[in-house]
């Protein structure tokens, strides 16, 4: 079987457009969990996915959906590979993904932490802009929220609560 560059592009585009099951305003490409799509010599499409958090239950849905859409598009043999290294960080979320999050009322993450993980007990002042009114007078209400990747915040200016994709 002769695979062409066009097939590879097409396979990538199909996998890349699969929405994240928990934040459907993001595609898997926007989220940065689709590490690659290649077509092997025997015509098998190999899509590589990396999990966001170790326990993210959406991983199984992502695998199933990427696999199903590629098959629906006529690729008979599809293989999904899990890639753990390098680990995903929020820095993998694309600029397009960040815009889409903000448009849907979710504050995008800042730069992921680097270097040694020291424990800081003094309150950390992080500036997160309200995705609704743009004010920076905001506060965290909980480190943890409806999905592993988000924290709960509220805006003191417009009084709206909002979610924030926390840096990891």
């Amino acid at each position: 079987m002769v695979t062409t560059l066009i097939d590879s592009r097409r396979a990538w585009n199909i996998a890349a457009q699969v929405p994240d099951p928990e934040m459907p305003m993001l595609t898997l490409a926007d989220l940065g969990v689709l590490r690659g799509v290649e077509i092997g010599a025997d015509g098998t499409v190999v899509a590589s996915l990396t999990p966001t958090y170790s326990g993210c239950p959406a991983m199984a849905e992502m695998r199933a959906e990427v696999s199903a859409r590629l098959r629906d598009a006529g690729f008979a043999r599809v293989e999904i590979r899990t890639v753990l290294d390098p680990p995903w960080t929020t820095d993998w979320i694309t600029p397009e993904g960040r815009r889409s999050l903000a448009e849907h009322g979710i504050a995008p993450p800042g730069a992921a932490p680097r270097g040694p993980l020291t424990l800081t007990l003094s309150p950390t002042r992080r500036t997160v802009s309200c995705p609704r009114c743009g004010a920076t007078d905001t506060e965290e209400t909980s480190h943890f929220a409806a999905t592993s990747c988000k924290a709960l915040w509220r805006c003191r200016a417009c009084r709206e609560p909002f979610e924030y994709v926390k840096e990891i």
Partner: protein, 286 residues
């Protein structure tokens, strides 16, 4: 694309069997497609048992954290504890999957989680103690997350097995959030009311005898740096207890070690609940 469409498409059944995530659904391999090769010179049996021990710590901790659902003092804390439990459950799945790849049995994660008895579990005993009050649970979370973070930071850079190293590198980021959350609560409660301070002192006294166990038994070829682990973790704990106006008592260690399968009476009932559905319907699929 509308959100409706997304959820509809997820609800549709797909023909392929690599679909859903629950016991009995056939989705059993969180390491699917990862290169399984064990590096030359690495003892497979040791690697498997170390992955199991680290997985058991996380599974038992996750089960205890899940027991706070509907019982936490505030909804936000319940969500936090459940999220932390979910991270640990994810780490468990990866570690069990790695153990199954290298121990020669080809067992999946369900075999380890549901079909082993308490004697076969290798978790540290601190993880299995009952939740007690919020002070006890959060103090335990501080101790266990500080220790596990320090262990994983080392594993991520020193262990010869690339899969274990990658699992650890991923877990480090999660554990840093767990430790931060627990530390803030320990300070808040220690530095809070007379009642909260009394409870924190009781929690530290109850936990101290089980701290020594964390630093014994992890000396193996896969884990370099066990020597400095104790002083590093104790320094972090002291940083928190100092800020909270508390003191971690000098412990009198309780004899025995969970890593040898030597457990308290609390593990078996925890496992009985965790394993009940899988054992009642061992061949179930849905």
């Amino acid at each position: 694309m509308s959100d409706d469409h997304v959820y509809l498409s997820l609800a549709e059944g797909h023909d392929d069997s690599d679909a859903r995530w629950a016991f009995g659904t056939g989705f059993e391999d969180p390491l699917h497609g990862v290169d399984e090769t064990v590096p030359e010179g690495t003892d497979s049996a040791q690697l498997a048992s170390y992955c199991l021990a680290l997985g058991d710590d996380a599974l038992v901790s996750a089960q205890r954290l899940a027991q706070w659902c509907t019982a936490a003092p505030e909804l936000e804390e319940e969500v936090a504890l459940a999220n932390i439990g979910l991270d640990l459950l994810g780490q468990t799945r990866l570690l069990y999957a790695r153990a199954g790849q290298v121990d020669g049995t080809g067992r999946g994660e369900d075999a380890y989680a549901y079909f082993r008895d308490a004697d076969d579990f290798r978790n540290v005993r601190l993880a299995e103690l009952p939740n007690g009050d919020f002070a006890f649970s959060l103090t335990r979370l501080l101790v266990l997350s500080s220790w596990r973070l320090a262990v994983f930071e080392r594993l991520a850079v020193t262990t010869p097995d690339p899969v274990l190293a990658a699992i650890a590198a991923k877990g480090v980021k999660e554990l840093a959030y767990h430790r931060q959350y627990a530390a803030e609560w320990v300070v808040r409660l220690g530095d809070g009311t007379e009642e909260s301070q009394r409870r924190m002192k009781d929690a530290l006294a109850a936990i101290a005898p089980y701290v020594d166990e964390l630093f014994a038994g992890d000396e193996n070829e896969l884990f370099a740096g066990a020597g400095e682990l104790r002083s590093e973790v104790l320094a972090v704990l002291r940083q928190v207890t100092d800020a909270a106006g508390l003191v971690l008592p000098e412990p009198t260690p309780v004899p025995g070690h969970g890593r040898d399968g030597d457990h308290t009476d609390h593990l078996a009932p925890l496992l009985a609940e965790l394993q009940s559905v899988a054992r009642a319907h061992p061949e179930a699929t849905w």
